[in-house]
């Protein structure tokens, strides 16, 4: 028997739409294999990551020009066959809300390029000082999430970049909001860390300790 397949065409869709469409399709179920088409590198990464969080298996990612074809096998449902009994087709397995595993450690959330309201130059100076101090701290945070104007810190030409790179070298994960990078047209300029989405950000903020700057 051939496998049933459903295709989600998320080409041309902005973040986080591809993840939302993938999530919706997985929640509806009724197929053996889900094929998601995206035409953007960060959408591809976000969909693959989401599939992992939802306990699905990513069977492959095929690149066809600018388009990525992601094959996702949904998480197995409860035992479908019990000897001696015939079951109707199992109800689609509920997709788990993406819990982010291993979110131990402190998360630092930075939502602006400077610290606090007031003079912009002072705010930027304080931010540089703060990030430098983190590089010197005995215990580094597990991750830094950059949102809104905060993504400007991680792009080429930023004064704070050198310290974010040092933190990354120390094992601190630097996560930049994809929507924000796209909004400011800085996607190509991201110089440290990786692009993330609201699902991952919300998951991380809801677990463990978060310090908001």
């Amino acid at each position: 028997m051939s496998e049933s397949r459903r295709t989600v065409d998320a080409r041309g869709q902005a973040c986080p739409q591809p993840v939302i469409l993938t999530r919706k399709a997985l929640a509806e179920g009724g197929f053996d294999l889900l094929e998601v088409l995206v035409d953007d590198a960060s959408s591809r990464e976000n969909v693959v990551r989401f599939a992992g969080y939802a306990s699905c298996v990513v069977e492959g990612v095929a690149e066809e020009g600018a388009v990525s074809r992601i094959l996702i096998r949904p998480a197995p449902a409860a035992p479908a066959v019990v000897p001696g009994r015939v079951f109707a087709a199992p109800a689609p397995a509920p997709v788990r809300v993406p819990a982010v595993p291993a979110a131990a450690g402190t998360t630092v959330l930075i939502t602006a390029a400077g610290i606090g309201a007031g003079d912009e130059q002072l705010g930027a100076l304080l931010m540089r000082g703060f990030l430098y101090t983190l590089t010197e701290a005995e215990e580094a945070p597990a991750r830094i999430i950059l949102m809104n104007g905060g993504v400007r810190l991680a792009v080429a030409g930023s004064d704070a970049l050198v310290n974010l790179v040092r933190l990354a070298e120390r094992g601190v994960e630097i996560l930049a909001c994809g929507t924000c990078l796209e909004f400011y047209q800085l996607k190509e300029a991201l110089a440290v860390g990786r692009v993330t989405n609201m699902y991952e950000i919300a998951g991380l903020l809801l677990q463990g300790r978060t310090i908001s700057i």
Binding site: Q121, L122, L125, R128, G129, Y132, T133, E136, D159, V162
Partner: protein, 92 residues
């Protein structure tokens, strides 16, 4: 690593000195003043200065752009942690 650290009277002076020195091709870093040092302003400039000749030249440049006190910085491995410690010695 050995380097030089200069304090300034105000953060505006520190920022201005950073621009001047960077404009002159020096790789300087604006950082919070370390706990071991007292200064009127919370930020200072740090730059690498290996060797006596470079140190003398950079010391002069730091002073020329408003450096208040200048300290020689030596990085030493910490006996108690994996982090490196810095030793600060004030240059009269």
């Amino acid at each position: 690593m050995t380097g030089l650290l200069a304090t300034f009277r105000t953060s505006h002076e520190a920022l201005r000195a950073e621009q001047t020195l960077k404009g002159g091709g020096l790789a300087v870093e604006l950082i919070p003043v370390p706990r071991q040092i007292r200064s009127d302003c919370g930020f200072c400039l740090l730059l690498e200065a290996p060797g006596a000749a470079l140190e003398a030249e950079r010391l002069e440049r730091l002073r020329a752009c408003g450096g208040q006190d200048v300290w020689r910085v030596t990085v030493i491995p910490s006996p108690t942690s994996s982090r490196k410690e810095k030793r600060y010695e004030r240059i009269p």
